[in-house]
Symmetry: D2
Subunit: 363 residues, 4 copies
């Protein structure tokens, strides 16, 4: 009997359970493969005693509709830089990848499917280079991996944000307000951009396009002057103002400086400082975007990723990452996949289309 | 032809449009009644030129599914305390109710249906006492009117909050986090209480029950110690700690002192100050709770309220507020309705049931 | 240690799991009570070997958001009329209630909480009369129990139907069609009535008001003549035409005669036979109305019902059914509760309000 | 001032209004373009008097969230084969394209954007060949156009079907039933395939893979024998059995022979005839799949299609169809686009992945 270990690492993302189910469903069609899960990324394997669970058709029944991951996850304890207690009581950072590969083999595992983002796939690659047969499944709520057109979770986050936005629009219009909604995206503004187009925002602020406060103020005042007395703004948590365009608040509210409500809070203040007299209200969606049942689109991607990952294992193709490219499910070397990062192109098709819809980016 | 004026006042609330549609639909079955709407509460009538709109079956077609109000609304310019510019340029607060009733009559209105909360209904009563035939329709997202068992909008707010809560729970469980979700409710904790029961929260903090920080900390640590490493907290924006139970933060974070994230932000800080080491994440639902399409339950209440209000007008029963009491649609004198206020009873059935479900109120 | 047995009987209903969780959560606060579940109503107890499961906080974690029942259910094998195999191979119907009560006691059960509809509560009453301490929890998707204002599941069914209706309306309007949507309700038209009001239907057909086909035809033609070329119809599966009003189809399409699409199919044919030339499209919601996650309102009712049922057990108050009456959670004798049935009153407030909204019942 | 005419043709599809809004928003950024809409496809232009409407920012405000089309649509009166009344009272089919192009020019239109499916785009091409500057926007709920990877509406239909499926699964499991859900798809099984993967169906029947009844029966009985007593089936309305595999029902239930419940009804009967004893329940989603607010993904595609179409007009690139190919928005000649049709490949990636998930296609 051959054994495969599955782990989920990094932040939450709708669809993780559907990937796990896909792997197990496909594996159960083979006579000679067993699937095991490691709790909390690879920690379940690294600890003594181990915390592993055998996964079969019954364990995964119905889990594709659930958010989160039945295996739990963690952001701590990267085995490439593991804090190891020294005899003198201090901690030293060590590379535990070789030890990890030995442990996997000593526990009888023939392969690993590692589901996770950049950090997790760097571990996948390191394990692969250290001799472990590994297949990676990409996970990024931000849709910022250049090797795959879409990943599971992203469209669910956009849907959740868009639904909330729809709810805010009616209040904005009835009360003639400026509504600011902060969505995820520290470095990539995809969620904000898609939400702004889907929801019909007037303003969309993303990390890729620093905004000019004067431009925003002009746009907002213009709306009120032309008799349409409300403005809806989507802002990515990583958005920030151009150098020198904020005077009153400068120094006080830098990028990421206020975590709850983050830039959102500061934007509200910035607008007030700059003379916007309309009522301004903020909403911070926070982790609602990362949780909950995946939309159908994401369940399909995640389920197929799971099946594909298992088929790569069966075919003996390791060091590969499952992707969806040009509407086809295929794979690329992990090494290649994690070397480039996909942010919004300020001059690309989608931003231009958004501008065609009348959305201002404050530039 | 007889004319009726409809106005919507105060904060946004899902179902306002369904009330308007109900009034118009019922009125259109009479040969001799016309319905007019005043934009932005009664301001549309008070301004010169007036901003009024004739409402017929076509104007209201399909609006029952929309959030907000097609008439717009405002919180400003209460006619009972109207800021009137004096010859010397200063402002003086005057009671413009008599003037308002004159104006209504001079514009040919035979009756008014005023849809709104406490403040709006005080105006309804004042107009009624000044000789204007008025019928009131209650509106409170907080469900805090003692004369009616339910009003439209409340259950929609609870549903929106509960849906968001469901999304947070999966992340909390996967990441072993403390999740804090702030919902509406400055004086009444109904939305928080219903959401906590619906969502299966571990902790629910409401204005009616000041919390003891030590009790919260004990409960949270207990959860982690028994191996269920996550806690979900619903907090009403008006919740606050008991006197003397917060030391480090005292003075810094009073009730309502921090508006964005409000008490929520301070609660997160309070918990950290008190030694909670787990990751804590906050979500502030804000106005998403007040907007969007009403759930079916609220559409039914609102639509029937509209029909009932028009039937009171037809029957010549004025000074009345439409209510839903003991599962029946009826009416009470406005005067009686606005004299009492319905907050959560800390010893009542629902709080006891919530405790039976294991929900802690921090008391 | 005292033991209680929980069972769920009859048709599916969103909220069953929340009731189970409520019972277990409340019981877990007592030192001396264990909760057990019987699979497939009481069959799990009656079979040899038994199929019972011990329920604790972990078993019920998170189940309140799930549709269906973790205990399964069945419509078969009523113990009051149990088909018992005789020595000669034939079956005879016997009353196994006394045997059932003996078995409960011999298995060490001190009390039973029986969740179910009319049939299940008749069994509850019979067991109670035979000496078993029983508490009942009412379950009816149709909201047809007169002793309780609302039960869990009903509003979820209405919401599901209303959401589907909203989707149909846009197509009806764009294509100038007659849309017929069949909802549940063989004897009571509550789901149809609430859905019609919530959705803004033009026509609502329910079992309590037999329709006159000529009236429907006139209404439909009227809509097309006045330039609003579409009609949306909600029909309860038990609706039927008045005697003598259908000529062409009479005899062919009686009440309940065509199960898939039921009366709906026949209504479409009836309208065509009667000269309606517009495109007619049908949707049969079927069991989508009985399944899925309960809306927040129903989760609250169900959770509180569970806690209340356990508290009745603790207080030693048996032979009682938990109810929600006049906005308060209380209890009535089961005997009293199951003796009357609550259908839509053709002259009641809601039907009159619906007519005020322009909804025709074909009468 | 230059004028453009917009029309929407064929069946309903979530996203049509977002396309219209996209066109108008983009055009409003030009000084010299006016956008007009023709009611009910091109009929509004062809009739006398015309039924046209000028579209500006206010007309299209907020329509992107609405299902249907504000312009209405129709399946009747194809101008390529127009039934023209002859002097003797009979009708003759004539090609009115030349007349239509003349009429467009005489009414001052400089370009046409035609939103619609195969039939509509054939008209687009004919008008283009007759000298009219035309840009096409593809519309197909079935996702069966080979030139574009995705179109708006498809994912919304899948989401609606998947949501309904989720609701059925819980009842199936609790009651040990066979649930059959019929979705759209007469010739292409994409909606059924995506829904089956998203929902976790056991069986998926599509037009591209005729099913063998014996295979289905074996699969269903296998599920019950292994103790998992429920089966969920998704069936496209155009699915049908292989020749010779249905004996009892043969001749009675051919493909498309029973329209309401279509094959679904017959499948239920076929299974009963073939010895399945479990309860079988059917749901026919019908037009709920074509209506309602589009999901965010579809709103983005539709909005960008609208902007792109207008930009093609501005760039003078006619005879083109807007598409989304390889994750990029671009265009192809209409002629090329409508010449090939995209059905599910029985040996393609998605069907293989579905089989990997344990979904049987009855082959």
């Amino acid at each position: 009997m051959k054994k495969i270990l599955v782990a989920t690492g990094g932040g939450d993302c709708p669809g993780l359970n559907a990937v796990i189910r896909g792997i197990v469903k496909r594996a159960s069609q083979e006579k000679d493969w067993e699937v095991w899960g490691s709790f909390e990324a690879l920690n379940g394997l690294m600890e003594e005693p181990t915390r592993l669970i055998k996964l079969d058709d019954k364990t995964v029944a119905g889990i594709h509709v659930l958010g989160g991951t039945i295996l739990g996850t963690t952001n701590k304890g990267n085995p490439m830089n593991y804090p190891e207690r020294q005899p003198d009581g201090t901690f030293k950072t060590v590379n535990r990848i070789p030890w990890l590969v030995d442990r996997l083999k000593s526990k009888g595992f023939d392969a690993v499917i590692n589901i996770g983002g950049d950090g997790s796939q760097a571990i996948s690659q390191a394990m692969f280079e250290a001799g472990m047969p590994v297949v990676g499944v990409p996970k990024t709520i931000d849709n910022d991996l250049s090797s795959t057109d879409f990943t599971f979770g992203f469209q669910t986050a956009v849907q959740t944000a868009s639904d909330s936005f729809d709810r805010l629009v009616t209040t904005a219009a009835s009360h003639h307000r400026v509504m600011i909604m902060e969505v995820m995206g520290r470095n990539a503004g995809w969620i904000a951009l898609y939400t702004a187009i889907s929801g019909g925002a007037e303003i969309c602020l993303i990390p890729e396009i620093p905004y000019d406060l004067d431009v925003l103020v002009e746009r907002i005042k213009g709306r009120y002057n032309e008799g349409r007395g409300f403005v809806n703004i989507v802002i990515a948590e990583g958005a920030y103002a151009k150098e020198g365009t904020i005077t009153a608040s400068k120094g006080e509210f830098g990028r990421h400086s206020v975590r709850l409500g983050g830039v959102c809070f500061s934007l509200s203040q910035q607008l007030k400082d700059a003379g916007i007299e309309a009522d301004i209200r903020e909403t911070v969606l926070g982790h609602t975007q990362r949780g909950g049942t995946p939309i159908a689109f994401d369940r399909v991607i995640a389920s197929v990723f799971g099946v594909k990952a298992m088929e790569l294992v069966l075919a003996g193709k390791f060091g590969q990452l499952v992707i969806l490219k040009n509407n086809d499910y295929t794979a690329v070397p992990i090494q290649e996949a994690i070397s480039s990062y996909n942010v919004v192109d300020p001059h690309g098709t989608l931003v231009q289309a958004a501008k065609g819809l009348g959305i201002s980016f404050g530039d």
